[in-house]
Point group: C2
Chain length 206, copies 2
Amino acid sequence: MFPKATISRFPMYFRVLTEYNHQNIALVSSEEMARKVGVTSSQIRKDLSYFGSLGIRGAGYDVAYLLAKIKEILGMDKKRRLAIIGAGKLGLALAGYTGLKQHGLEVAALFDIDQSKWGTTSGQLTVFPLTALASQKEELGMEIAVLTVPGAVAQTVANMAVQAGFKALWNFAPVRLVVPKNVIVQYEDLVVGILTLSHHLARKFG
Amino acid sequence: MFPKATISRFPMYFRVLTEYNHQNIALVSSEEMARKVGVTSSQIRKDLSYFGSLGIRGAGYDVAYLLAKIKEILGMDKKRRLAIIGAGKLGLALAGYTGLKQHGLEVAALFDIDQSKWGTTSGQLTVFPLTALASQKEELGMEIAVLTVPGAVAQTVANMAVQAGFKALWNFAPVRLVVPKNVIVQYEDLVVGILTLSHHLARKFG
């Protein structure tokens, strides 16, 4: 129903709409949103047209209604619990990332193969042995496995997560994963962003 | 010259081509690359066609030549030094991220407003006061400022980075930044990825 590119802009729309909501702004124009989000107003009108005709000509979009719709589309009306596998720096950074909770996502536990990390708590969280993945998934009701492990072991860890029953993986390791068809993988490659920046820098300033 | 979407795939191409190179594989087909990267082979042929006709029908692409070309396009033939502003968990995770060095990018120093962090070294790196940004930029030859600060102070920090002479910002704070026209900003929003995953999860499993 929604093109992937449109979906990718919804979190940004959600963010600015939340701001308007906090400021008690009830109606907002596509031009106003465009300025905040950094895309064209025609792009915004096109993206929001998938919800049917929400805009009131001359008045703008209903902020609260749009927020509710986007929340629904992004599955944010449902709370989701995350397991972070790999209690290294990146795993700990994600565990403390406030942006997740704001979007209905909660890190429930961390997992690591390194025995010296077990039991230590990061904030209020416990680090469990990797072998406890299946039992803790059940116990804590976790749905999404976040992979913050080195690339060399990512596939092995992904296999363990799949075996433990996870149907959604958020992969920060720089490798493509082979998973069964009913498992969803979202890749997060930090190097793509910085290389894009580096490319523009080279073109602009040499 | 290159569409943005094509540029965004180059780092992935670079990654698999580097692997082939390490395995002493000199020629590779678009089908083979497609399997590794996870896009269609026709997409790969289209993306690589921007380099002119590099493929040899029936033999495949010259791995070494393609690698050199992509390095050039991504500005990787030139080393770039990074300043990380915000020595919190995410800043420290990025400072230790090996993916950067593999791509010609080197974190030269960290900066923080919190006095208690100054001087402490993360790995071999020093945390400087934010006020030392301009002098250390000069001293260490840094070109890219990485913003790993809370959203509430991101614009202020961006202003300081621009004033210090940075022409490229890599922004992890979840806010749009207002910068002069000659400054490039690359946004990195971790929530977009997880919300995309959450959306697919909701559609597939409810």
